[in-house]
Structure formats: C-alpha cells, structure tokens
C-alpha cells in the first residue's frame, strides 16, 4: 500500500483474531499492533479485555502452547522470553543452578559455556544466593527474579511480562520492577502490570483496551491516561497513585490538588489512632507460638488482644506466616505454645459448628471454599447447615447475591465464574451467617480496582455493624484507608502492633517488614526531609 508497509516490522501482528474453544465470542478481533525495537509497551485494560491474549499471540504461546481458533499473521524476532505471574509454575528443576542450566540446554548451548552464562544471569538480576539453593526454599520475590534470570540467560530480543508482581509483597514488587526498568532501552519490553507506580513513569507507550477487547487508545502514557481518564475510571482499571504528578509539583510552594488530598488523608489517619473503649476483648492471643516438627519456628511470643469492632490488618513479608496466623486465630491450626481466647474461651475448646458460627474465614483461593453446584446454593449453604427456614434462606441469600452483583449468575456453577466473580461469591458465602469475627486472607489479591472497591465497601458496612475484621494483605493504601489497627508479623515474631498512622511513620520498621509507605506518608516524609517546617507546623502534618 505505502512505503511504511514494505519495511518488515520488528514485532507485529496483522489482522489477528483469537477465539477460545470454550467461549461464545472472540477475545481479539482483527487486531493490528506494531512494536519497534527496544520500545517498552504497557498493555492496560480491565480484566478479561484480551491483554494477556495479545501478549500470548505476540510471544507465540498462542497457537504453539495454547490451542485456540487463530487467524492473522505475526512477525517476531527469533528469540523471545516470557515471564509469568505464578512464581510456582515456571520451573521444573529442584535447584537454582539446574533451573538456569535448563534454559541453556533447551537452546543447545555447549556445556563448557554454561557456567559463565549462569553466573552472569544471576548478577543481572542481583540474585546473591548459592547456586545449589533448592527452589522451594526461595520466597516468591526471589523466585520471580530467578524466573527473570532464566529468561535473560537466553539473551532474548523481546521480553514479555504478564503481571510479574501480582503475588509479591511491596518491597519485592519494587525490586522486580526495578530489574525490568534497567532493561529498558536494551530490550523490547511488552508488559502487563496492575501496579502502575514503578512502571508507567518509564514505559514509552501504552495500549489501552476496553472491555470488548479493542484497543481504544495507543500512545505516550501521559496522553493516554489524560485523554481516557474517564474510561479508565469507569472500567475499574487500577490507576497510579502519584503519576503523572511529580514530587516536585507536590512539594511546590503552591499546593497541588493531590497534595491537599493527601493532607486530608493524613489528618484522618491520625484521628484513627484512637482505640475503641477497652471492653472485654473478643480475641485474646496469648504468647502464641508455632514450631514445626522439623524445628522450624514460624513465629513465637505473639500477644495481642483485639476489641470487638476493630479492623485489624495483618502485614508482613512473603512467607512471614500471615496466613498461618489467621488459621491459628480461626482454630484451623493449633499453636504449639500459648493459646487464643475467643470471647474468653480457648478456641481449641470450641465445638466445630459453634466456632464457625462465630468466626468466618475467607480463604486466599476462592475455589477452596466452593461446595455447592450453583451460585445460589453456594451463598445459601451456611443457612441450610444452620437449619434456617427456607423463606429466610431465600431472602438473605438473594440479598447477598444482589449486594455482590451476582444475581444473574445464580444458576451457574461456581467453578465456571471469572476470577473476580469467584472472589465476590466466596466472600458473599461467608457473610450470610453474620459471624462476629471475619478472617480474610488477602481478599483483594488479583482483583481489579472496581472489584476491590466493592469488596471493601461491603466489609466496611459489616465492620460498622460491629463485625471484627482481621485481614492479611500486602496493600498498604488499603490499610491506611480502612484499618484501625495493624499487626506486622516478621522475623519470627510480632514486629509491630499499633495504628496504621504510627506504623507508616516509621521508615526503618517498614523496610524491615518488606513494606512501603502509602503515598500520603511518603509525602509527609519528603516534606520533613525537605525541611519545609512551616507546612509541618501549619497543621495536620505534625509528627
């Protein structure tokens, strides 16, 4: 057609349509994308919009590894690498060294050259661990960096990255994103990432998808985010906390609107410090410790007494034992030392039905909880077991499904729902019995902004109605906004017990716990560092 078309593109797809065999409609329709060498491109869009499908088409996973109906042409360089979300599903060997070698063996790299390449790949991602380390002993963050090293060992021209930090704590998220940033300009990067801070500042280009799987905007990050602000908000896509505002603008003498908002947030955060009146605690954790049979101590000496109506966030690095802690509180694991008192009675002395009429538990993987064959039965299950009259079950379960926007799916099988729907159903199913205590293990994990906001709204309502909430999470913004109290678990014990405000005002402690401060607190810290005392003294920022 014209001269532009004659040049072979570096990485491109032309007229690509994809439909999975179990779906009624195609995911991608007549998609055309062309990416230049060494460009960094971010794919942005609501869940289910086809971002991952496009990444799989461009990288060749479709149709090589995933079967689907496929049409169109794709041009790509010979050597590409793909990094995935699940740290446990990218390896097949047992040690770091063998895993790195596996990459090289696949490409028939001569044996004598392997050792040097392996050592270089480890340096590239700043992995400073012995080569003989078993992979199962690595934390999620280290596993993701090992996965990156395994790809870099192959010296790919294009690196595809599909939500690499979804399962990581804040500090490890930063480390992985930093590693990727350092590759910018040396390699072509195609990224999908929900945590935009740490990515959107440096990518060259953003492709914005709508829910129907079409690209509605393509351009520099700033232009796309400005022009499509409304669409981005409405379709529940995560937005960056700070960007495109810069720290300079925030700290400028004339306050930026965001700065004012952060000041308000800080002011409310400080007020939350006030504890509820010292009633009899609903939960009393007394000198609890857990030691496995092989001698490994998960944590010990945990003491905390929780008042009715508190919203307690459980924070800590990957692998610190947050889930285990919740399980102990919920009577699913017995501590090897100390005990947990629920309403003044040892949790281990409750009868099972009696205990779970008082305590609800939302597990990390929604599927684990599913028992019934339909969405409605799933939500109604608790009532049935408790022997409620049919008409009450019907009324309350229907109300729950409406609250969680699941009413149209009431006759579907829970296992066929989308990720977000499954999560909403698993929470709905646990709320029916209105337990006094609700334990949640990373309930917002992997959810888009819309689902997260909705879940938090429902939990907020329950909390205001008097439900005590304990929630393990990595999301510090959520903690700053909703929690009344934080327990930080790490280094085999309780590192902190207090208000979110006090925690986020202690940078050293945050680092120790693999956490980062929410934006408002980073803002405060920067003001203090810049010595803008007048702002500090003016009002809400005082230490």
């Amino acid at each position: 057609m014209n001269t532009l078309m004659q040049k072979t593109p570096f990485l491109a797809c032309v007229g690509v349509s994809v439909q999975f065999f179990d779906r009624d409609a195609p995911v991608l329709r007549e998609m055309n994308v062309s990416i230049e060498r060494n460009q960094a491109v971010l794919l942005l869009g609501p869940s289910g919009s086809g971002k991952s499908t496009l990444l799989q088409v461009l990288s060749g996973i479709i149709p090589r590894s995933i079967e689907a109906w496929f049409k169109g042409t794709v041009t790509r360089p010979d050597s590409v690498g793909v990094m995935f979300q699940d740290p446990d599903a990218q390896f097949c060997m047992l040690t770091v060294e063998d895993e790195l070698a596996f990459s090289l063996e696949n490409r028939s790299v001569p044996r004598e050259q392997m050792r040097a390449v392996i050592e270089k790949a480890m340096r590239d991602v700043r992995l400073d661990i012995p080569l003989s380390t078993p992979i199962r002993e690595l934390s999620g963050g280290l596993k993701q960096r090992l996965a990156l090293a395994c790809l870099l060992a192959l010296e790919p021209e294009v690196l595809f990255v599909d939500e690499p930090t979804a399962q990581l704590d804040p500090l490890n998220t930063q480390l992985v994103l930093d590693d990727l940033r350092r590759l910018h300009g040396q390699k072509t990067l195609v990224l999908i990432e929900h945590k935009l801070d740490g990515v959107i500042e440096w990518v060259d280009r953003v492709l914005l998808f709508n829910a129907e799987g079409r690209i509605v905007a393509d351009g520099a990050p700033l232009d796309v985010v400005r022009e499509q602000a409304e669409m981005i908000r409405e379709s529940g896509i995560w937005t960056p906390k700070l960007w495109p505002v810069t720290w300079e603008q925030l700290l400028a003498p004339v306050p930026h609107p965001l700065a004012e908002r952060l000041q308000t947030q800080l002011a409310t955060g400080k007020k939350q410090t006030a504890r509820p009146a010292a009633d009899a605690p609903i939960l009393d954790i007394r000198d609890a410790g857990l030691r496995y049979k092989n001698g490994h101590v998960v944590w010990q000496g945990l003491n905390a007494s929780i008042q009715p109506g508190e919203w307690v966030a459980i924070l800590g690095p990957n692998g610190a034992g947050k889930s285990t802690f919740l399980k102990m509180v919920g009577g699913l694991i017995e501590p090897t030392q100390g005990n947990v008192q629920l309403k003044g009675k040892d949790v281990s002395r409750y009868k099972t039905p009696e205990l779970y009429d008082t305590v609800g538990f939302v597990f990390q993987n929604p599927e684990h909880q599913f028992i019934a064959d339909t969405v409605f039965e799933e939500a109604a299950f608790g009532g049935k077991v408790a022997g409620w009259p049919q008409e009450r079950i019907e009324r309350e379960a229907t109300q729950l499904l409406a609250d969680f926007r699941l009413q149209e799916l009431r006759d579907k099988n829970p296992f066929t729902l989308s990720q977000g729907q499954k999560r909403r159903l698993s929470v709905a199913g646990m709320l029916l019995k209105r337990q006094d205590v609700l334990l949640l293990d990373e309930p917002t994990f992997g959810q888009d902004a819309a689902t997260t906001a909705e879940l938090l709204q429902r939990m907020q309502e329950r909390n205001e109605a008097g439900t005590t909430i304990l929630m393990a999470t990595h999301d510090v913004e959520l903690v700053a906004e909703h929690a009344s109290r934080v327990l930080v678990i790490g280094e085999g014990g309780l590192l902190f017990d207090g208000s979110p405000h006090d925690l986020f005002s202690q940078p050293e402690l945050l680092e120790k716990a693999s956490l980062t401060a929410p934006l408002a607190y980073e803002y405060r810290q920067r003001i203090l560092d810049a010595g803008q005392k007048e702002k500090v003294e003016e009002g809400s920022l005082s230490v």
Binding site: V82, F102, R107, G382
Partner: protein
C-alpha cells in the same frame, strides 16, 4: 535443614558413599536383577541370606545410619510378620507341627509364608536402599542420558515431583475451608465418598491449571521435548558402577556358595 532427610534427595550421611555415587540407571538395573534372584529361591535360609545383602550394603557401602534404615523398613516388618503368620497358620500342608482350633501350623505352610515374607522384605530393602541413595534430578537425567527416555517425559517427571508437596498443602487448605463452611461429615463409606468427590474437583481444577501453566512456561523457555539438547550435568557410567556391580556379584556368589550349591 540439611540434616533432615527429604524424599527425592540422597540421605545426608550417605552423600559421599559408594552406593550414592553409582549411576542411578545402573543402580536401578542392578537392583532389579538382584530382586529377580529372589524369585528362583524357594528355601527360607537362602532367602534370608539374600535379604541380608541389601541390608548389609545399606549400613556399610551406603553409610545409612542403622536406626534410620530400621525405621524406614519398620512398616514393612509388620507386613512381613502378618503375611508369614497367615500363610503359616492357614496354609495347606502335610506335616503338622501344631494344631489348635482353626489354626494348623504345617511345615509347608511356614516355609511358604517365610519365602513370601522374606522375598517381600528383600524387595523393600533394595527399594529403600535405592531411594535413600538417589537424587531425583540425577535419576531423571540418567534416565534420559543412559536409558534414552524422551526428555518430554523425563522433565515432566521432575516437574511433577515438585508438585507433590503443593498438592498436599492444597488438600489441607480445602479440608480447612470445608470445615469452616460446616460441611457435615456424613459418617461411614458414603460420607468418605462424598468428601472425596468434594475435594477432588478443586484439587484437580487447580492441578490441571498449574500443570498447564508450567507447560506453557517451559515451552516459552525453548523446551520442545526433543532429544536435540545439551546437558549441563553429563552422567557417564564409570568406575563406581563397576565397583558396585563387582560388590553385588561377590556377595551373591558367597550366598550361592554357602546355601545353594
């Protein structure tokens, strides 16, 4: 952590022993051959002597602590006693040694019982010796390099091995979740069956998804399952394999000379 033994790895105290250095495929073949010898033995004294070979090797040439080895075999010891007892007490025979109620111990029955029991114990001893001296990674590599197993299967075995502990965790999670939700435990076989199907669906769903993800990730790293690849760790049969062969042969010759001639 290195002091405790985990499945799929060489027992730490055995790491530098002769048996641990033998090529896994060679070791497997030799052990299978030795097990075959048991089948031709019909006399308890000889079977007992043959069974002593793997046991002796375990605590000498494999340097496995006696107590660890005994613990490993203990469940099978019970099986051995019960098998022998049942065959001895209820088996048919002419020469009656003792009679009481429905129990009749005959010489033929006892011999048969001991033969079967010792054979089983011998098999288990060779198996335990193999398991405690063999690294699963090396086993898979050796299958691919010496026995020409297609890499597609060899690496699938390794990836699957990594999954085992994950499955157990997953199972525990589901069990906990169902407990919280108040799934009534129907007693008896029907309840067991119900629980089984309830656990199986989420376990399989998750297992299949994980397996798919691993397969996709490995293919994306250039793995195509073909034999067209190099190996970082090249395993070659060598002096240790020969030594182990000679050792086993010598021990069997002694047994043959003393009992079977």
């Amino acid at each position: 952590m290195s002091s405790s033994y985990t499945a799929g790895h060489v027992h730490p105290s055995s790491a530098k022993s002769l048996v641990a250095r033998v090529n896994p495929s060679v070791k497997l073949l030799l052990h299978l051959l030795c097990m075959l010898v048991f089948i031709f033995v019909h006399d308890p004294k000889t079977a007992c002597a043959l069974m002593a070979i793997p046991m002796l090797l375990s605590v000498t040439a494999a340097r496995i602590p006696v107590w660890t080895f005994v613990k490993r075999l203990s469940p099978f010891l019970i099986l051995f006693l019960s098998t022998t007892w049942i065959l001895a007490a209820y088996g048919k025979g002419e020469t009656v040694w003792w009679h009481g109620g429905i129990i009749t111990i005959t010489e033929e029955g006892l011999v048969k019982g001991l033969n079967i029991g010792l054979r089983m114990l011998g098999f288990v001893a060779y198996g335990a010796l193999f398991a405690m001296t063999t690294d699963v990674t090396l086993l898979a590599l050796s299958f691919m390099q010496q026995l020409k197993l297609p890499p597609k299967i060899g690496y699938a075995l390794l990836a699957g091995f990594r999954f085992l502990p994950m499955f157990r965790e997953e199972y525990e999670q589901i069990k906990s979740a169902h407990r919280v939700r108040g799934v009534a435990r129907v007693p008896g076989l029907r309840g067991k069956l119900q629980a089984f199907t309830r656990y199986t669906i989420p376990l399989l769903a998750q297992g299949i998804r994980k397996a798919e993800r691993v397969a996709i990730a490995l293919e994306a790293r250039g793995f195509d399952g073909s034999r067209n690849r190099t190996y970082y760790r090249e395993l070659k049969p060598g002096i240790y394999d020969a030594a182990y062969f000679v050792l086993l042969l010598a021990m069997h010759t002694v047994v043959w000379y003393c009992f079977m001639r």
